[in-house]
């Protein structure tokens, strides 16, 4: 069964567009009483869309024929008919430049992502994100902004000790209690973020060092400084030179995240794996 697709008049058919799928539930508040309103109230991650559009505007300003832009598509899981119309109308009301709307059932959403060359799926729901990652779809957490204030930079953060570890070392992780399945997942997560990193890297290069509407960030949580250095070099090799880098070496991650306030958080999940053996008790 094909998902229902609505194309808006602004669909861009572009090979190198950064197709980013976002869940409706994150952009609009679809909780119980909120759906009475039209337009729908803004959701937890609404400011993300504004930040993305600001980047696109700057890209086009530099080069009006720019094809490497964010192309946002909206994904709705199990939405009732009248909600679908409200979503469509609300997007128009807020002036959101959304190319496509996909409405599907819960069970189909991963397949929907896979079928549509999505370069990145974003959601505030951790389970959705890991579900997508496990199916090989590049996915990252969409972060709730503290104040809903519009930041003047779109911040993309890679929390990636895995990026700083070689394939051989990841294999060795079985000696530290990780299962073969978990190791496979690590490798899959690392593999599928590469393309997104390369695209973001290329997009970042369109702007200068200062005054960029796009900021890229690397954090390593558990690894030593050498793991962080390797991660920096690996990202560089993939085409991404990050603006900011943090090596926590076991320090808690949340206070740093609260200060950074990223919009997009790609997390390799290494430091919060459940069911690992006792010696790996580091909290994030």
């Amino acid at each position: 069964m094909d998902p229902k697709v609505r194309n808006s008049a602004e669909t861009k058919q572009s090979g190198s567009a950064l197709v980013t799928a976002v869940s409706c539930h994150d952009i609009f508040d679809l909780s119980a009483h909120q759906t009475d309103y039209n337009p729908l109230p803004k959701g937890a991650a609404f400011s993300f869309i504004s930040a993305v559009q600001a980047v696109n505007q700057r890209l086009v300003k530099h080069n009006e024929n720019e094809t490497l832009q964010f192309e946002v598509i909206l994904l709705g899981k199990d939405c009732e008919e009248q909600i679908k119309s409200k979503i469509f109308d609300s997007a128009k009301h807020y002036g959101l430049k959304i190319g496509k709307f996909y409405f599907c059932s819960r069970g189909e959403f991963v397949r929907t992502l896979q079928a549509n060359s999505v370069k990145l799926f974003l959601s505030t729901d951790r389970d959705d994100v890991y579900g997508a990652l496990q199916a090989g779809v590049p996915a990252a957490l969409l972060c709730q902004q503290a104040d809903q204030q519009v930041q003047d930079q779109l911040k993309v953060l890679f929390s990636g000790d895995l990026i700083g570890l070689s394939e051989d070392f990841i294999d060795c992780l079985k000696d530290f209690g990780f299962s073969a399945v978990q190791i496979q997942n690590f490798k899959a997560a690392k593999g599928c973020i590469r393309e997104f990193a390369a695209l973001i890297g290329e997009m970042r290069k369109r702007f200068g060092c200062e005054d960029s509407p796009l900021h890229t960030i690397l954090i390593t949580v558990l690894g030593s400084r050498d793991v962080c250095a390797t991660a920096l070099k690996t990202l560089r090799g993939w085409g991404l030179d990050v603006d900011e880098a943090f090596c926590l070496a076991g320090a808690p991650r949340n206070p740093i995240l609260t200060t950074i306030q990223p919009h997009i958080l790609w997390d390799d999940g290494l430091h919060n794996m459940k069911g690992v053996s006792p010696l790996m008790g580091m909290s994030s």
């Binding site: 530290f176 060092c209 090596c247 010696l279």
Partner: protein
């Protein structure tokens, strides 16, 4: 899981996961764990005080950011030379080694964090240099131009050292002990086993309340005021907390019998005079439950020669006049931009031995 740290084999050997990386290492390498920020005494240093980046700074100022970053990347494998905070950092590590010997389970150690405004492009060059000098700096924040204040707080920073006085001022306003450091031509050799920290009194350990009186009402009024309030403790200044944590560590050494040869030594170097105004300073410290190993009351004499004898790894003062005087004779001096001295022009006297010379 702790990727860089201890894993115990069945034989009881410990080795770090990092060593596992190449699988070629049959001998275990021991790398100490970084303490949790809430337990540690966190010292945040900027890249320009850890290493000498004068040339690169010049390129940035004259040719702009793009050229600066390009230069850094082109010279990525070239080592930086040590900067003004380098000997201080090395001394912190020496203290840590001794603390670990005496208290192997404790996390009350110095933790040095690299806190730089620099772009992550410079990261690899910085890490290469840190590796070369075998510095124990595992944590860093390269903020790519954003303010470090939020990160300083996230790390429960006890002391922030930077070459940028604007950021230092911001940190002080947020209640974080901080000081500006400068490159210097002449630097004397300092101890590699005993950490020595010297503090000015007013507007560093103490508030600037008394200094205000001197600056606005003159020396006589200052003496009068100090005498009248001799038994009233002064309010605290920005570096009081740092002296406090040093004292805490010193007591750990005393508890294990290392009173005479304690690897940490503190000094009060004040222009107050022993005969009069100095009394209030000592009583204040006592009221706080703090002490310094030595208290030097210079009664207005220049601080440079005394500091040259003490050879501290770092000397904190709120007046540039004293910072410069110290640096001229080879002492690493850090400026605390706090209090009234920052707002009024400095009062310099030629002959500081006269009785009507300024208290600082």
């Amino acid at each position: 899981m702790n990727l860089n740290h201890q894993h115990t084999t069945s034989k009881g050997d410990t080795y770090c996961l990092e060593a596992m990386k190449t699988r070629e290492h049959s001998t275990p390498t021991k790398k100490p764990t970084s303490p949790k920020p809430e337990n540690a005494i966190t010292i945040a240093v900027s890249s320009r005080v850890l290493f000498n980046m004068d040339l690169e700074q010049q390129i940035f100022e004259q040719k702009g950011m793009e050229e600066y970053l390009k230069y850094q990347i082109d010279h990525e494998t070239e080592l930086f030379k040590p900067g003004p905070a380098f000997p201080f950092i090395k001394a912190l590590e020496a203290v840590n080694a001794q603390l670990r010997d005496l208290y192997p389970e404790s996390e009350e150690l110095f933790d040095v964090v690299l806190m730089t405004n620099n772009h992550a492009h410079v990261g690899i060059r910085l890490i290469n240099s840190i590796n070369h000098y075998k510095l124990f700096i595992e944590r860093f924040c390269m903020t790519g131009g954003n303010s470090p204040i939020g990160y300083l707080k996230a790390y429960h920073t006890n002391l922030y050292l930077s070459a940028d006085s604007v950021k230092v001022r911001e940190a002080i306003e947020e209640g974080i002990a901080a000081a500006t450091m400068f490159s210097s031509e002449k630097v004397t050799q300092v101890s590699e086993t005993q950490l020595r920290v010297a503090f000015d009194g007013d507007a560093v350990l103490f508030s600037d309340e008394s200094e205000r009186i001197y600056k606005t009402q003159g020396l006589d009024k200052f003496f009068e005021h100090e005498k009248a309030h001799e038994n009233k403790p002064l309010d605290h200044g920005p570096l009081k907390g740092f002296l406090e944590v040093l004292g805490k560590l010193q007591r750990k050494f005393y508890a294990k019998g290392h009173r005479m040869d304690c690897p940490i030594r503190t000094y009060l170097v004040t222009a107050r005079s022993a005969a009069s105004s100095g009394s209030r300073a000592l009583k204040t410290l006592r009221a706080w439950g703090l002490e310094t190993d030595e208290a030097l009351f210079l009664a207005g004499a220049p601080k440079g020669p005394m500091l040259a004898k003490i050879k501290p790894h770092i000397f904190f003062d709120d007046q540039m006049f004293h910072i410069e005087g110290a640096a001229e004779l080879g002492t690493v001096a850090a400026h605390v931009p706090y209090g009234i001295a920052q707002k009024l022009p400095p009062k310099k006297t030629k002959d500081a031995k006269e009785t009507d010379s300024p208290p600082k």
